[in-house]
């Protein structure tokens, strides 16, 4: 009886460990979709928590490689309630927050960070979770909260050499309304304000040409041309200029935010290493 039991156990172990290897080798070969199915097969077959955890993290890696962050998020959410050891649940929680961040759901990242103490016996979020929180706050433009979290994080890490305080120079974002108003009253000024002098000069030239053509035509008694070409040209480029200034300011702000977030991310990850 004992011998039969041992043989059964060995054969099951061999079957499952071979499948795990199949999934891993598929992953290593870059066949992420097939590897994902192989990991799911382990989850379907195995009741062993250690095997299940290997499969969960394996499948998460596959989904991340495929850029399916939302799918990874939902997949990990379903495993949050399983009775795994707390360290594993914490890793699942972190992976879920990471996929949520990569998927661009920044408010949800903050919610996942806030849930941490309730789901992990009152423990404080891990340093990586705090990093995600800071980055998510940056993405949302909540500089004050991001700065506070950043300063607390630096103090907690207690590095030997204090890094430069990045939040002393938070990106100065430009106002969309201001750009619109400027373009409304001074042609090209909105584009200048958005940091695009080339476009500003082009806008000024075209609008001036419209006005000039209108005035000259009017003086020469070409009234129809004055209105339909001069005024229409000016009007079209003036309204277009206002809208363009708005777009340019948005692009400028986004670029600034991304650059700042990149700097913060690099510094925080260096600190963690």
């Amino acid at each position: 009886m004992t011998i039969r039991y041992c043989l059964t156990c060995i054969s099951l172990f061999v079957i499952f460990s071979t499948r795990g290897q199949d999934a891993d080798s598929l992953y290593k070969a870059g066949h992420y979709f097939d590897a994902s199915i192989a990991y799911e097969r382990i989850l379907f077959d195995s009741k062993d928590p250690s095997r299940q955890l290997i499969a969960i993290f394996g499948k998460t890696r596959c989904l991340k490689q495929e850029g399916l962050y939302d799918q990874a998020m939902t997949f990990l959410e379903n495993w949050q309630a399983y009775p795994f050891p707390d360290s594993s649940l914490a890793e699942i929680h972190y992976q879920q927050a990471l996929c949520t961040y990569l998927g661009g759901h920044f408010e949800n990242v903050l919610s996942l960070v806030e849930r941490w103490p309730y789901e992990h016996g009152g423990q404080q979020p891990t340093p990586m979770m705090v990093v995600l929180k800071i980055l998510a706050l940056n993405e949302l433009g909540r500089w004050k909260e991001a700065g506070d979290a950043y300063h607390s994080f630096i103090v907690q890490q207690g590095p030997a050499v204090m890094p430069p305080d990045l939040y002393q120079h938070i990106p100065r974002l430009k106002s969309i309304e201001k750009a619109q108003w400027l373009s409304q009253f001074i042609p090209g000024a909105g584009q200048f304000y958005a940091g695009r002098p080339g476009e500003a000069i082009f806008s000024i030239l075209v609008q001036t040409a419209g006005i000039w053509f209108g005035v000259v035509s009017f003086e020469q008694h070409y009234y129809v041309s004055a209105w339909l070409i001069g005024a229409a040209l000016f009007g079209a480029f003036h309204m277009g200029g206002v809208r363009r200034a708005e777009v340019l300011v948005r692009q400028y702000n986004r670029k600034k935010m991304l650059a700042f977030n990149e700097t913060v991310r690099e510094q925080l990850l260096t600190l963690l290493q």
Binding site: F33, D34, S36, I37, E40, R41, F44, T74, F75, N78, H221, Y222, Y223, V224, S225, L228, I229, A232
Partner: protein
Amino acid sequence: MKLVLPLILLILSFSHVRGQQFGFSKELRFAQYLQDKEAVPEAIRVLEQVDTTALSRAQKDSLFYMLGWAAYSIRQLDKSIGSFLKVSADFSKYDKSRFFAAYCQAFQGNQTVQGRGRMDSASDGLRELVLPDSTLRELRDFQLAGIALLKRDYKAFLSEQQQFTYSSYIFEKEEHRMQLYYDKLKGFKHKSPVLAGVYSALVPGLGKWYAGKKKQGIAAFLPVISLAALTYEAYRKDGVKSARFIGFGTLFTVFYIGDIWGSTLSVKIRRNEFYKEYDNKILFDMHIPLRNFFN
């Protein structure tokens, strides 16, 4: 001793068959597990990788039905049609497979240029069914009526519509709506592209207005009239040989002819938009009773 060898072979072949059956049902359960977790593309991959050569007819039917259903749920309609049509008549869900295959064919037929052949296949497939249940027979007539409308075969629609009882809660509303769609499609007034062109030649943009595209008509009127005014001004002040007149005159001519040509096309575009709108409504109403009846 003579009996031992055949006995061993028998036991071995029996255990082999049992093993295959176990393996197949496990694959099916795994595919179902994936579908339940909304990993449908993965489920399709698993089902497609099953080796069908050693499967019994019943196992193949289960496999094709499941594959058809999975493909249908993520709108891989070609794969869905192919799988549903492979289900044999002995299978318990044969009727359901055929109904859904026909619906998918009708849908695909409506989306493609060579669609009529597919819709004919859909109708033929439904007519071949031997249906003992009167509700199911009426559902077939309803589907055939829908396909007839998609083909604009009004005579065939009226013939199928004779079978509507308007009494089953499953498709009573849809039967009424199908009647309404028939009235709308039949009553659709075919406008003349030539007349639209003539209208636009008389008043720029009027052809598009006539075709039912009023905003486009106004949008066409304004530039043509503006260019006409500029051309007239150039003619009045500078004469026929002036560069100003030739420039604006050329622009006006291009826009004017372009508007006439656009008006003739807009009749066809409007007609296609109208048909597309009603095709979508018909397909939607064909789908609801299928889901209600079979699920």
